[in-house]
C-alpha cells in the first residue's frame, strides 16, 4: 500500500477509535514522562559531579612518585626535569604540566579596614553586592595559614580572568589561582553565614592585592630564617588549583623554594599532569610511565567514576521503573488492539476481499500503534520537560544555597528527546505486534461472516 493511502486509512481508523486509544496511551504518557524526568535528573547530577565536584579530564592523567617503601627501595624515582623530559618523549603524550609543592610555610593576615575605599566603591557597583556586605567586608579580621603549590600556567590559561598568571616582577603581587570547589564551599556556607560577598569571576578584578607572608606561620615555631612580606592577587578560579590553599606560577614556587628550602626543593616536582593524544593512549602511556618508575594517581578519577556509577545505577533503577510503566502500557495497548481487531473483524475481511494483502492489514494496525506512540511519546516528553522545569523552579526559589547547588538539576541530551518518542513508538509497536499478526492471519472468508 502506498504511504499516502496508508496514512489516510490510519487516520480514519484513529478518528473512530480515539477514545479507546487515548485511554490506552495514558500509560505511555506517564511512563515516558517519568523516563524523561529520571534520565534528565541523572544526567544533570552526573554533569554537576563531573564538571563541578570531581572534574576529570578524560585525556589527562596525574603522575606521582612511587610512595611505597618497598618500591622506593626497588628504584622509585623523583619527578625532576629529566623525568619530565622522559614523559614528553613518551609515545602518545601531547603535553606535560609539572606541579610543585611550596616548600615553605606561609600565612596571611586579612584586615577589612585596609581595603581601599576606592576598591570598595567599585565592588559596590557589582550586581548582587549590597552595602551591608561591604560593611561585613570591613569587619573581616582573619589570620590564615596558607598552603600553596606551583602549577604550569599553560594548564590554567583559560581560567585567568583578572591579569596574568606568570612569575611577577619584583615588588609586584603574586598571581594566585583559587580552587573552584573551595570557593563554592565558601560561597554557599561561609559567605552566606557572615553576609560576605560571594566570590566569582566578575568580582575578581575588583579584589585588591591581599597580604601574604612567606616563610611564616602563626602556629608553627619550626620556621627558620627571615619571613618575606609580599602580596597576592587572585587572578582566576580553576579546578586545577589546590583545594584549601593557593596555586601560584611554577617559576615563582621554584624561586621561593630555592630561597627558603634549598636547591633540591626547587628541583623536585610533586606531580606532573600528562595530556595524551587521545583516550586510546591512556593505557599505553600508563604502562610506559610505570616502566619509568612512577605511579599514576587515579584517586580523583576513581572517586568521580564511583560517584558517576552510583548516579548511573540510581538513574537506571528509576528508568527501569518508568520502562515497566511503559511496558504495562504496551500490554494495555495490546489489549486495546485485540479488542479493536475483534470489533473490526468483518471490516478486515472486507478489506481482504477488496484487495488488502496480509502486509497491508499488518501495516494498518502497526501504523495506528506508531501514531499512538508518536503522540503518547511527544506528550510524555512534554510532561517530563514541564516536571523538570517545575522542580528546578521550586528548588531555585525555595531551597537555600548549598555547595555545588547547580543552576539546573537536569541535563537534556539531544537523544533524550527523540529517544523518548522512539521508546514510546517501540513499545506501542511491540504492544500491537501480536494483534497485527493475528489480524493479518485472519481467514478472510471466516472474517467476513464474523466467525
Amino acid at each position: 500500500m502506498k504511504p499516502g493511502k496508508l496514512s489516510r486509512i490510519i487516520s480514519q481508523n484513529l478518528r473512530r477509535n480515539r477514545k479507546n486509544l487515548i485511554f490506552s496511551s495514558v500509560g505511555i504518557v506517564v511512563g515516558i514522562s517519568s523516563f524523561f524526568f529520571f534520565i534528565a535528573l541523572g544526567n544533570g547530577i552526573k554533569h554537576t559531579v563531573a564538571k563541578e565536584i570531581f572534574p576529570v579530564d578524560a585525556n589527562r592523567i596525574q603522575v606521582v612518585p612511587r610512595t611505597a617503601q618497598f618500591d622506593a627501595l626497588a628504584g622509585g624515582r623523583i619527578i625532576d626535569d629529566e623525568a619530565l623530559r622522559q614523559f614528553e618523549e613518551t609515545s602518545g603524550v601531547k603535553a606535560v604540566y609539572p606541579r610543585m609543592q611550596l616548600a615553605c610555610l606561609a600565612s596571611s593576615r586579612m584586615d577589612g579596614r585596609l581595603i581601599p575605599a576606592a576598591a570598595l566603591s567599585m565592588i559596590a557597583k557589582i550586581p548582587g553586592i549590597n552595602p551591608r556586605m561591604l560593611g561585613a567586608v570591613k569587619d573581616v579580621r582573619m589570620w590564615l595559614e596558607i598552603m600553596g603549590n606551583g602549577i604550569d600556567p599553560r594548564l590554567v590559561q583559560d581560567d585567568v580572568v583578572a591579569g596574568r598568571f606568570a612569575d611577577p616582577g619584583p615588588g609586584q603581587p603574586i598571581p594566585v589561582m583559587l580552587s573552584r570547589r573551595m570557593i563554592e564551599i565558601y560561597n554557599t556556607s561561609f559567605a552566606q553565614a557572615r553576609n560576605l560577598p560571594k566570590i566569582n569571576e566578575m568580582l575578581l578584578p575588583f579584589i585588591p592585592p591581599l597580604p601574604l607572608t612567606l616563610n611564616h606561620s602563626f602556629i608553627s615555631h619550626h620556621v627558620k630564617g627571615q619571613a618575606l612580606q609580599t602580596r597576592m592577587r587572585v587572578v582566576g578560579l580553576s579546578h586545577h588549583a589546590i583545594m584549601g590553599g593557593i596555586s601560584i606560577p611554577l617559576e615563582t614556587v621554584k624561586k621561593y623554594n630555592r630561597m627558603f628550602a634549598g636547591k633540591r626543593a626547587a628541583r623536585e616536582y610533586d606531580a606532573a599532569i600528562l595530556e595524551v593524544e587521545s583516550s586510546d593512549w591512556l593505557g599505553p602511556v600508563q604502562e610506559s610511565i610505570g616502566k619509568l618508575g612512577f605511579d599514576i594517581d587515579l584517586s580523583e578519577r576513581r572517586m568521580a567514576e564511583s560517584v558517576g556509577l552510583i548516579v548511573t545505577l540510581v538513574t537506571l533503577g528509576f528508568s527501569l521503573i518508568s520502562l515497566i510503566i511503559v511496558g504495562i502500557a504496551a500490554v494495555n495497548i495490546a489489549h486495546t488492539f485485540f479488542m479493536i481487531i475483534y470489533e473490526r473483524k468483518r471490516e478486515i475481511g472486507l478489506m481482504r476481499a477488496l484487495g488488502a494483502s496480509r502486509t497491508d492489514i499488518r501495516a494498518i494496525i502497526l501504523g495506528e500503534a506508531t501514531f499512538v506512540g508518536v503522540v503518547g511519546g511527544t506528550l510524555g516528553m512534554g510532561l517530563g520537560v514541564a516536571a523538570c522545569l517545575l522542580l528546578d523552579l521550586f528548588v531555585v526559589k525555595v531551597l537555600p544555597d548549598f555547595p555545588f547547588k547547580p543552576d539546573s538539576f537536569f541535563a537534556y541530551p539531544a537523544w533524550l528527546f527523540y529517544g523518548s518518542v522512539l521508546f514510546a513508538v517501540a513499545f506501542c509497536i511491540l504492544g500491537a505486534f501480536f494483534p497485527a499478526r493475528r489480524a493479518a492471519a485472519m481467514d478472510p472468508s471466516a472474517a467476513l461472516t464474523g466467525r
Binding site: L350, L354, G355, S357, R358, D360, S445
Partner: protein, 224 residues
C-alpha cells in the same frame, strides 16, 4: 472465465472433517450469468469464496480469468481480488463511518493504480441509480440502497467477475427484483460475468446457467 477441476474442500481434520465441496468440476464462459442454489450448508458460499480467492484451502485446480489461484502468493491473490473480482454480500458489509462515495472507493486504498477515486465512485454510484446519495452514510440509506452501494463498490475497479452471495437475502421481494435487474443489466450491457448464490432462484429468470449444489456436490448444471 471460470475453470474448476475436481475441487474439493473439507473443514476440520480426521474423523471430524466435513466436506463442503466434493469433486466439483465446472467451466463457465466469460459473460455468463450463473446462479448457484442449494440448501444451507450445501457449499454455495464455499464455492464463491474459492472463486474469489478468499479460500485457498482446497484440493483441485481453480483457474479464474486465466489465473491459477493455487499458484498465486498472498500479494498476487490480493491484487487479483482488487482487479478481477467484485464481491457483493448479503449483509452489504458497508463501513458505517464512511459515506456512500467513500465506501465505494474503499478498494482504491489497496490498488497500485492512482485511480481518480471520487470521479469513478460517482460514476458507478450513478450507474446503480444513486447519484443523489453520494454523501449519505449507510445508516441514512434503505436496504436496497445499501445493496446498490455495495454493487457500486464491486464495480469500482472494473472487475470482470461479480460474485454475489445472496444479494437479495436481506431485501423484500420488490427491492430484490430491482437488484437482480441491476445484475442482469451489468451482465447484458457491460458484459460482466456474474455468479450469484441465492435461495430465490425464481427471481433470476435471465440466468444463463443454474447450478444446484447438494451436500457439496453439483447436482446439475443447466441452462434454466
Amino acid at each position: 472465465m471460470i475453470h474448476l477441476d475436481h475441487i474439493s474442500r473439507k473443514y476440520g481434520t480426521g474423523e471430524a472433517a466435513t466436506s463442503a465441496l466434493s469433486d466439483l468440476t465446472l467451466d463457465v464462459p466469460a459473460g455468463a450469468f450463473v446462479t448457484v442454489v442449494g440448501t444451507s450448508g450445501s457449499g454455495k458460499t464455499t464455492l464463491l469464496n474459492i472463486l474469489g480467492g478468499l479460500d485457498g484451502d482446497y484440493s483441485g485446480t481453480a483457474v479464474i480469468a486465466g489465473k491459477n489461484l493455487k499458484q498465486m502468493n498472498d500479494r498476487e491473490l490480493s491484487r487479483f481480488r482488487n482487479q478481477v473480482v467484485g464481491f457483493v454480500f448479503q449483509h452489504f458489509n458497508l463501513l458505517e463511518h464512511l459515506d456512500a462515495l467513500q465506501n465505494v472507493a474503499l478498494s482504491t486504498f489497496f490498488s497500485r493504480e492512482d485511480t481518480q477515486a471520487p470521479e469513478r465512485a460517482e460514476e458507478v454510484l450513478a450507474r446503480v441509480g444513486l447519484r443523489d446519495k453520494l454523501r449519505k452514510l449507510p445508516g441514512q440509506l434503505s436496504g436496497g440502497q445499501k445493496q446498490r452501494v455495495a454493487i457500486a463498490r464491486a464495480l469500482f475497479s472494473r472487475p470482470r467477475l461479480i460474485l454475489a452471495d445472496e444479494p437479495t437475502g436481506n431485501l423484500d421481494t420488490n427491492t430484490g427484483s430491482q437488484i437482480i435487474s441491476l445484475f442482469e443489466s451489468l451482465n447484458a450491457d457491460d458484459g460482466l460475468t456474474v455468479v450469484a448464490v441465492t435461495h430465490e432462484e425464481f427471481l433470476f429468470k435471465n440466468a444463463t446457467l443454474a447450478l444446484h449444489l447438494e451436500d457439496g456436490r453439483l447436482v446439475n448444471g443447466q441452462n434454466p
